[in-house]
């Protein structure tokens, strides 16, 4: 209560002062200046306009006050407007400038007279506006250190009601209806052409060793080293093996160097140590051919290919066939035997 009373008394005092200061004129030899505020009471951080006006004859040289950041230490200028000069018919000027001001300190702030300096010294005294006052209210409770400082309150959670979604219901129904119509049109007119792959048989997965053996076979058939394309031959063999290692052992062999690949195999148990030795021989020879222009002997080239086949065959994952597949394979075999015996009898 005391606080409110204090505020009210402050407002009354400020209004008493401003009853003379809302519009202040200082005139001398037909020169008049005025300062006018939109309001004399603001909340802390609130903004109001302060308008300065100067009316003068054109033979007197008066300079408009240069206000940049602040009016007083408590009142800041947020934005300064442009000087607006109006030329009157009777040989007089009316110059105006507006300032958007604010304050972040609560209380009653005194605005001293704003001085307009006269350059020509004809008037013999300074021209200034009347003093004013601005009352700044703090609407928030002051922090009482004795009660302790508390955290900022979290935003309040607005309760959710299903009824809030009702307004979107026509839109949702409309979109569903539209989608239904579009689907109907597509199925009605293009239905036969739209391929339905839901029940299609997935493409068979080729095991990595099958791919690798096929690729090695292809390289062998191309007879690359026999045609002096040794680098291509070894690049093909090593790339095939690295692709195989990547798929079979899930080692990123394509992005690894020979040493790194060999290190990756350290934790893997092979049936025999020869496979890994063969791989090392191929990769090292490939590196020498690829990066050091090494030209291996024909026997070495053949050996590398044999070792590559050996590595893949020794490390491949044995396929476990399903019972039906086993049955089908056996039937096929029996049929083949029968066909052969029939043809021999004939």
């Amino acid at each position: 209560m005391n606080r409110i009373k204090k505020h009210i008394s402050r407002v009354i005092v400020s209004f008493l002062i401003l009853s003379t200061g809302v519009v202040h004129n200082a005139s001398a030899q037909n020169v008049s200046v005025s300062a006018e505020m939109d309001s004399t009471v603001i909340f802390i951080g609130g903004q109001i306009d302060l308008k300065l006006q100067l009316s003068q004859p054109d033979n007197i040289d008066l300079s408009f006050p240069l206000l940049t950041d602040t009016i007083t230490k408590n009142i800041e200028i947020v934005k300064a407007g442009q000087l607006d000069t109006l030329n009157r018919d009777n040989g007089r000027y009316l110059i105006e400038q507006s300032f958007r001001i604010t304050s972040f300190d609560s209380g009653l702030h005194y605005i001293p007279p704003i001085v307009f300096e006269e350059v020509s010294q004809k008037l013999g005294k300074a021209i200034q506006t009347e003093p004013m006052a601005l009352m700044v209210f703090n609407p928030f409770d002051e922090v009482d250190p004795q009660k302790g400082i508390v955290d900022i309150k979290q935003p309040m959670q607005a309760p959710f009601h299903l009824s809030e979604l009702y307004k979107y219901l026509p839109w949702v129904l409309g979109i569903i209806l539209l989608a239904g119509i579009v689907t109907f049109i597509i199925l009605r007119y293009f239905g036969k052409e739209v391929p339905v792959k839901i029940f299609a048989k997935p493409a068979p997965v080729i095991p990595p060793h099958v791919k690798a053996l096929e690729a090695l076979d292809k390289i062998k058939q191309e007879k690359l080293w026999q045609h002096n394309r040794i680098k291509e031959y070894y690049s093909g063999v090593s790339d095939t093996l690295r692709h195989y290692i990547e798929e079979r052992f899930e080692i990123r062999a394509m992005e690894q160097t020979t040493d790194e690949i060999m290190n990756s195999f350290k934790g893997i148990d092979f049936r025999d140590g020869k496979s890994i030795d063969n791989l090392r021989q191929i990769l090292i020879t490939s590196d020498l051919v690829k990066f050091a222009k090494h030209e291996p002997l024909p026997d070495e080239n053949d050996l590398s290919m044999i070792n590559a086949f050996f590595f893949v065959n020794q490390t491949k994952l044995e396929e476990i066939k399903s019972l039906e597949e086993e049955k089908e394979a056996m039937l096929n075999k029996e049929n083949e035997v029968l066909n052969v015996s029939n043809s021999s009898e004939q």
Binding site: E255, T257, K290, F291
Partner: protein, 331 residues
């Protein structure tokens, strides 16, 4: 067949010429305990005519390492402590008036030496940094109207302290790019530190012997240039550099917004040169992908600009390089 013979000859020559590497490393190891990476980096810089930026906390034997190297190579060495009030003339030299001769004479600065240790380079203002970096690039200094070539071999090892960044002048990207390698030093291991204590408490501190002449280094540099680099390795280097610029083309979309700028063509050149030097150190006459990968972090870590997003997500250039190496196909 003739090409094959050439490689064999290069291999033999390199095996012969690189015999000093073991001796040099041995001498270095007499004085420097641990810090193998630093010693290797110094050798790569020396052999590939590149400069080195070192980052590490004080007391990790940076000065001792370059001083020892200077002793081993019988070269001149100077240490310049970069401070905020250092002037380019303090580094390069200036013209002073000789009353005796009644004329201006040139007083050459400490840069006129073989090995320079620019200590805490980021403490000096940009004008001094750029004076040093220009001299590093041009290998010459102009004082007054005369241009003076710098001594050969010329190796600058600049240090940066990763802590105490207040009041420093971080090197601009364009200037950092002029360092071939950026080595990051770490603390020694427990047993190494124990050995360091013993070395320092002994009555006589181990001393390295002079085993080389600067001319030997210049000759070795020529041999390093002869190390064979196959077209496949060149493509691999280009792929790595391009992956820093356009990570999305190499399946690294996640880094697209993390990298503000990638490595420059100078990085590709440095990567090639440093790979050759590394192959030479390993006494090989040809470069293999292992060589490129071994020096890739040191060459690229200071050449990748990280965006604000990367910094906010604590992504470092080290991580980006490692990912690139894991993603780019090895030939």
């Amino acid at each position: 067949m003739e090409q094959s013979v050439d490689i064999k000859a290069i291999n033999e020559r390199i095996k012969e010429e690189s015999s000093f590497v073991d001796l040099l490393t041995m001498e270095m190891n007499k004085v420097i305990v641990g810090q193998k990476h630093l010693v290797e980096g110094l050798l790569i810089g020396l052999l590939s005519d590149g400069h080195i930026l070192l980052e590490g906390v004080p007391g990790l034997a940076k000065t001792l390492a370059i001083n020892t190297l200077a002793t081993i190579v019988d070269a001149k060495f100077s240490r310049i402590q970069f401070t905020p009030d250092l002037l380019p003339a303090d580094l390069l030299g200036t013209m002073i008036y000789s009353q005796k001769k009644e004329e201006f004479i040139v007083k050459q600065g400490p840069i006129f030496t073989n090995f320079v240790l620019a200590d805490e380079i980021n403490r000096a203002p940009a004008k001094v940094q750029s004076a040093l970096l220009e001299a590093m690039q041009e290998r010459q200094v102009t004082i007054g109207e005369t241009t003076y070539p710098l001594e050969e071999p010329f190796l600058v090892m600049a240090t940066q302290n990763p802590i105490e960044q207040e009041g420093t002048y971080p090197l601009p990207e364009a200037q950092v790019d002029r360092f071939m390698l950026k080595l990051v030093l770490d603390y020694p291991k427990k047993d190494e530190e124990q050995m360091i204590i013993r070395h320092n408490l002994a009555k006589t501190f181990p001393k390295a012997s002079t085993i080389l002449k600067p001319e030997d280094i210049i000759r070795a540099r020529q041999v390093v240039k002869d190390v064979y680099m196959d077209e496949k390795i060149e493509k691999y280097i280009v792929d790595i550099t391009f992956a820093t610029r356009y990570p999305e083309q190499y399946g690294l979309e996640k880094f697209k917004d993390m990298i503000s700028y990638g490595a420059s063509p100078r990085a590709s050149i440095s990567l090639s040169m440093a790979s050759k030097a590394y192959a030479f150190i390993k006494r090989r006459g040809y470069v293999i992908p292992e060589d490129v990968r071994a020096i890739c972090h040191d060459v690229l870590r200071h050449r990748i600009g990280l965006s604000y997003e990367a910094e906010a997500n604590n992504i470092t250039s080290e991580e980006i390089i490692s990912e690139i190496l894991n993603q780019v196909e090895v030939p």
